[in-house]
């Protein structure tokens, strides 16, 4: 090997090392996944083979001399040698062609291989690996899990910190705003499927409604207005929804989370989409734990 080849290989090595360093710094385990490993192998192959083969021929410009029989023809002064094929090239052509036949007929037979089959296997393997592992996860684990799901699935609407992006979605640092409560009092609500069924509009009005809304939005601390009695029949004296008969107005409890994630919800702020079938039961539990942690 001469200087040019060594320089080219060194360049290839730097590129590969830089790639691996960046990926590893992001907590990605290259050897932990078949696809990662093949990709990195492919990247190495591109860099190394190109460096090696191109410099091999460029070196011949320094070391070799042109030779061979010239063909009779000549175009605008350009001649052509009758040289044989470079053997490495010819064998590689033959080899890749034979390999392609093997690949298409035996390796991944065109009549039998199915990528959906492969997907189903991937999901099975995944479930085996993770689902049993976290079936009985403790609260701390659920909290961490919830956070990572939240950042991917919910943060685009509710914001990274759960503050609802200044009124563009539910603010998880509290339960509800006055505006939200008033809107429900005025318009009623019938979308979540609580045992109590629907909430009719106009359960309170005027100053009563204002007082109730202030009280509920304040986290039901302080003095309870007398008019809250209108609500207590369904939501309970403490506003906690009487064990899931109606929504808990004080906390994001399990029932509320389950129903909201399943059905979605349209309110004064906007519409929250349903996450039905998009989260597993464990993930849903984790979500609840995490959302609850935000309001405390």
């Amino acid at each position: 090997m001469n200087a040019l080849t060594i320089k080219a290989l060194a360049f290839a090595a730097i590129l590969i090392i830089a790639t691996i360093a960046v990926v590893t710094s992001l907590d990605i385990d290259i050897m932990g996944d078949f696809v990662y490993a093949v990709t990195m192998g492919g990247a190495i192959a591109i860099a190394v083979i190109t460096a090696f083969v191109t410099t091999k021929y460029i070196n011949q410009m320094k070391t070799d001399t042109p030779s061979g029989d010239l063909a009779d023809e000549n175009w605008d002064g350009i001649g052509e040698y009758e040289n044989e094929l470079p053997s490495g090239w010819a064998y590689a052509f033959l080899a890749t062609f034979l390999w392609s036949m093997w690949y298409g007929f035996l390796g991944y037979p065109t009549n039998a291989y199915s990528q959906i089959g492969e997907y189903n296997e991937e999901v099975l393997a995944y479930n085996e690996k993770f689902e049993s592992l976290h079936k009985n996860a403790d609260a701390a684990t659920l909290l961490e899990m919830g956070e990572s799901i939240y950042l991917v699935q919910c943060a685009p609407c509710h914001g990274n910190t759960g503050d609802g992006l200044s009124g563009k979605a539910q603010d998880f640092t509290g339960r509800m705003t006055k505006e939200q409560v008033l809107y429900v009092i005025n318009n009623g609500s019938n979308q979540l499927g609580y045992p109590m069924g629907m909430m009719p509009p106009g359960m309170a009005a005027g100053k009563d409604a204002e007082d109730i809304a202030t009280y509920v939005a304040g986290g039901m601390q302080g003095e309870k207005p007398a008019s809250f009695a209108a609500c207590a029949s369904c939501h309970g004296e403490d506003g906690k929804g009487m064990n899931g008969m109606a929504p808990n107005l004080a906390q994001y409890d399990d029932t509320l989370m389950t129903l909201v994630l399943e059905k979605g919800k349209k309110g004064v702020i906007g519409t929250m989409p349903s996450f039905k079938d998009r989260l597993t039961p464990v993930q849903q539990k984790a979500m609840t734990v995490y959302i609850q942690s935000l309001s405390n």
């Binding site: 990528q115 959906i116 492969e118 997907y119 991937e122 999901v123 995944y126 991917v152 699935q153 685009p156 609407c157 990274n160 992006l165 563009k168 979605a169 702020i269 906007g270 519409t271 929250m272 989409p273 349903s274 996450f275 998009r278």
Partner: protein
Amino acid sequence: MFFHWLEKNPFFFAAGISIVISFAGLLEIVPNFAEAARPLVDLKPRTVLQLAGKNVYKKDNCISCHSQMIRPFKSETDRYGAYSLSGEYVYDRPFLWGSKRTGPDLHRVGNYRTTDWHENHMWDPPAIVPGSIMPAYKHQFTNLADIETAYAEAVTVKNAFNTPYGPEFKGTRAAWEAHKPKVLEEAKRIADDMKNKDIKEAVARGEVPEVVALIAYLNSLK
């Protein structure tokens, strides 16, 4: 030698090239036409408003950053929903799968984003998703969508390819005038879920801003 002869006979040379380059296409593409043209059982063609939205998507060329093809990997189905099926695309002319994901896939974005979110996001993406490099599309809030062209498109695909639009879809101006209220009605349902006053007023006047049609289209991606 055969090749030396060929090189002196340009006609046969050109014929040779044509034959060699044609048959791969014939063998790979033609057999698929019958199979891939089958729609999913309950697949409906897009409404005129949604088509107008698709044309906004084409006009502003969202395809340069967004794909609509969820590949069968766990990591993609977790992020975007079920993997895509051939039968879902049967009424898409052209297909809009894209080849670059500078932004996320949108094939099922209708499942997990909503009208009000799109309204905020199209107006100013980084305000909603900090760090977003998506441009703001404020002009879509004032430009009007071309619903007449969308209607012409529906009629064309109905007549040329039997896309199942109803019998009322005819290529006459009268038929379009008769259909137009339906489009406006649908636009109003979208505008009702939006906050922007100008949009609401425009729709009430019988105009359809581009963003309204675009959101109808995005919501239909499920």
